[in-house]
Assembly symmetry: C2
Homo-oligomer: 211 residues x 2
DNA sequence: TTGAAACATGAACCATCTGTCATGTTTATC
DNA sequence: GATAAACATGACAGATGGTTCATGTTTCAA
């Protein structure tokens, strides 16, 4: 088949379902591989990371990798889906039950920053999806935006935000979060300082306030 | 020396100055290589692009590449510096002589969107610097932020913006621009629609207005 | 015209990497 | 404890790509 990574075609092959482990032993090995992959991809980036790196870190033989994943792209994609899912879950948990839109934005941003601090590897992983699997990359941001749009629309409905294009608002807020997170969490490994956090909140709430 | 791309160490080697052509013929070849590299890197991404791709597109032999650039990383870095410089120049030209801060932001955002529309390849190039040369990547954003901070501070001084942390404001605005540009220019190849542009401006100006 | 410097060439070297496979080991079930 | 399925192994095939180098060609000043 000769499907090398640098093959000219099909950088994003279809939804190849990864193998499912049939015993708990197999499941454990699969998980070891995923954990190792998360670290390796985060450290070296997708392209500089090799399958050998992953199996070495996981403590299994090279061949074992292919028992659980069809290829390097597939374990990466799985990681991305996992990350995306967990991130959205944590944010939605953080804001569930909140009443004012200000609180929602505050807790939502805080949850995002907390998540990327805990998963700096995965933050870096997200930045590479574009060049590994273009569709997955767009899916991630669209999915994220989609959830945001609903909240923004509801806030407009409720008169907490004034009427603006909700999708644009969603992308703008995502951009703010990503850049502020990059500046502090990714680059410095710190929490976003209060001064910066307050500035963001002030900009956002003033920028969107009703009346 | 065996310095392969996937070498374990020194992903970012020091400021290797590229060779300087000594005749106009040499200069022309060097430029052909740079132009080809811009297209190839933009299309395939840094890691999937090969030096052969570049020389093929430039219409020169493989060896010729190394007459002008010490290696693949170096031509990429040169491209990034060139892009960064041109982008900052276009924006600063677009806003020079403007009086109100609102106009500055409007023209500045518009210039940014126009630039990335004209250089979609380079937009994609910027997204990869992180994994090719970490220092260069931070340098690019810091440099960009730095210029923005000055403008924001001046606007606060002049009472057009209220007092907030200028650096945070700069990163937030950069994040907005990048995400809105991604959504429309990069993904759809279109200009940012008026509705989206107006929403952005409204958010930004309301978010930062003095009172 | 001549000779040296600049430029150009492309085959070949060397390292690396992904994915395969024939073979072994463990586990679970009866 | 026998047997088959699941799991694990690591050497190897097949391919790619960055970089080097010995050699050839062009340019240009003296």
């Amino acid at each position: 088949m000769s499907t090398n990574e640098s093959n000219k075609e099909a950088p994003a092959k279809g939804q190849t379902k990864d193998f499912q482990a049939k015993t708990s032993r197999g499941e454990a090995t699969r998980q070891k591989l995923l954990d190792a992959a998360e670290e390796i991809f985060g450290e070296k980036g997708y392209f500089r990371a090799s399958v050998v790196d992953i199996t070495l870190k996981a403590g299994v033989a090279q061949g074992t990798f292919y028992v659980y994943f069809p290829g390097k792209q597939d374990i990466f994609a799985e990681l991305v889906r996992e990350l995306s899912h967990n991130l959205r879950r944590e944010i939605s948990q953080a804001v569930s039950g909140l009443n004012s839109r200000r609180e929602v934005e505050e807790r939502g941003f805080a949850a995002f920053f907390a998540f990327i601090k805990k998963h700096r590897n995965l933050y870096r992983i997200m930045q590479q999806v574009e060049f590994v699997d273009e569709d997955l990359y767009k899916w991630y941001y669209r999915r994220m935006a989609q959830g945001y749009v609903q909240g923004v629309e509801a806030a407009m409905e409720a008169g907490e935000f004034r009427r603006l294009d909700p999708e644009t608002v969603a992308y703008a807020l995502m951009g703010i979060a990503e850049f502020i997170g990059m500046r502090w969490v990714l680059w410095e490994g710190k929490d976003v300082p209060a001064k910066a956090f307050n500035t963001v909140m002030s900009m956002v709430m003033e920028g969107l306030h009703a009346d």
